[in-house]
Amino acid sequence: MNPILVLGGGPAGLSAAAELAALGAEALLVEREAYLGGNPKRWHYSLLAPDLRPAEEILGPLLGRVEGSPKVERRLSTTLTKSERLEKGFRVTLKTADTVETREVSAVVLATGFDHFDSRRKFEYGYGRYPDVIDFKELEGMIHDDKVVRPSDGRAPKRIAWILCVGSRDIQVGNPWCCRLGCVVSIKQAVEIRQKHPEIDAWVYYMDIRTYGLWEDLYWKSMQEYGVKFIRGRIGQVTLAEGGAQLLATGEDTILSRPTEVPFDMIVLASGMEPGTGTKEAAGLFGLPVGPEGFLTPRLSDMNPVDSGSPGVYFAGAATGPKAIPDAVTEGMGAALRAFQYARE
């Protein structure tokens, strides 16, 4: 049996590769970056929601299973440039900076993940213009290194605002979907900051709080135990406050039905998840349709969310839509199992 190709080495791809190895199959894990771990690794995620365990504790064992297995062939800094369907499986071309190689694989798991929304596209928030307006993926790294300071002057902020749904639920930027993680991750960040620095005031501006399922607990605790403030209404514009040292967030408090203006030292944007460039590439290479949002579309998303509908091609993780790590990992397992069954048939 030829190896099974796993494209993308994020949580979903790692899980698929580890599971294939456990099933006794050979996995060819191809990752375009020079490291494994996907977005959580790239942005140095701090504690992971909902259990607030360090990202290393969750990614570590997964990486260990992949790196420690002779069954998984890891190919970093490598991309796929061609794929050709064979009677069983595919012939694929792998490319690195200085090599090109053709391989035969018996099935494919696409785990190409998501890209962050580029917050500069919501120009009214001043991301890229005001240094103290940051993206929440950047805050992850700051919290991780316990260096939550204003990029403009290196001073500790006294009051921080989170703006949810940046680049999500917004047809102005063409992204009507919900990012699923923005709420829980922002609240988690506010809690982490309040835990370590109770002197920092944390305000979250929201339309709806979507801490679905058991994650609701974190939302409640953030108020009960950590005094995080929630204002229902979205900020419509960020400008410099009088004097220029602070940022002025203007919005509507939709509960009190009044416009509000609050000065902040730092503003954090919960940027959404978009289908990654790698996901679009993969769709092209394997001739798969993408949905109106640009994500890969399982043939039966309710019955079998990991089946592409094209024989021998399976999906896992955020490549099919915004998703949390546990879901990405579970889908990795499911896709591995289906790919294994197909390859063995």
Binding site: T250, P259, E261
Partner: protein, 278 residues
């Protein structure tokens, strides 16, 4: 800096008469509608919901409040585009009626709300549909709201602009009008230099936009007649409408006289003129 969490609210105050009359609004607790008012309210509501623009302008709402953020009127009045959209979407006859008394007139139709809306609603548009209905139905409150604007309305409807060059005081508006002499701006470089920044194909408008052409007026009148604007206005302000009709008649006569004069002159110069549009 202190937290300016909530800007001061300016509530439109009740008139003495209103304060003395029994309450009309059921939902908002201001006034209770009389039975005639209620009948009108229900008719308006039915017409409003049946208007094809309603379906086109009101798509849904996430209640994000971003429309209100940029709304100049919301900063000064107890008014918000989000509330207007909600009323358009979910409000009942009484709520709509209530909003149509005063609130819809707080909007200055700047369309900032539309630019902000992430749902793609035409909020300014739906507000203008409400205004249209309040004029068509000649609401007493609308009459009161619009009373001070009779002069602007007359100008707008007869010449198409509120300001004409003879109204400009050069001392106060140095960079305005056809006789602009300069600007008050610190970077004043003189009118001729500034005018050079205007693309040459539209440069003539610095003069022509101040001219009131009879033909333009006549076209406007034609539009009012064809679209029923005059009839709409008649319900609200019959006196003003009669005055407008008089002005229209006068202009038409002026135009016809001028046309006849011109025809005769032309005929004298070149012999008979074949056709003449108008």
């Amino acid at each position: 800096m202190s937290i300016v969490a909530h800007l001061p609210r300016r509530v439109l105050s009740l008139t003495e008469e209103e304060a003395a009359s029994p309450p009309v609004m059921e939902l908002t607790g201001r006034r209770r509608a009389t039975s005639e008012e209620r009948t009108v309210a229900e008719t308006i509501y039915a017409e409003f919901r049946a208007d094809p623009r309603h379906r086109e302008f009101v798509l849904g709402c996430l209640n994000c409040g971003e429309c209100t953020t940029g709304c100049p009127a919301a900063r000064f009045y107890d008014f918000s585009p989000r509330e207007m959209l909600q009323i358009a979407q979910n409000g009942d006859a009484t709520t709509l009626w209530d909003a149509m008394q005063e609130k819809i007139w707080a909007c200055c139709q700047c369309y900032t709300c539309n630019m902000r809306c992430r749902f793609g609603n035409d909020i300014a548009g739906i507000i203008s549909v409400m205004r249209e209905l309040s004029v068509i139905h000649g609401l007493e409150s609308t009459r009161k709201v619009l009373a001070p604007f009779g002069r602007s309305l007359t100008l707008l409807m007869t010449v198409g602009t509120q300001v004409s060059s003879d109204m400009i005081q050069p001392d106060f508006f140095r960079d305005w009008g056809p006789f602009a002499t300069g600007s008050d701006k610190v970077w004043d470089v003189g009118t001729d230099v500034m005018r050079r920044a205007i693309p040459s194909d539209v440069l003539h408008t610095t003069r022509s936009s101040w001219e009131v052409s009879v033909q333009t007026s006549l076209e406007l009148f034609r539009i009012y007649e064809e679209t029923g604007v005059l009839d709409m206005l008649r319900g609200l302000d019959p006196d003003l409408t009669e005055m407008l009709v008089d002005i229209i008649e006068e202009r038409r006569e002026e135009f016809e006289e001028a046309r006849d004069r011109f025809r005769t002159e032309l005929a004298g110069m070149h012999g008979p003129v074949a056709t003449f549009m108008g």
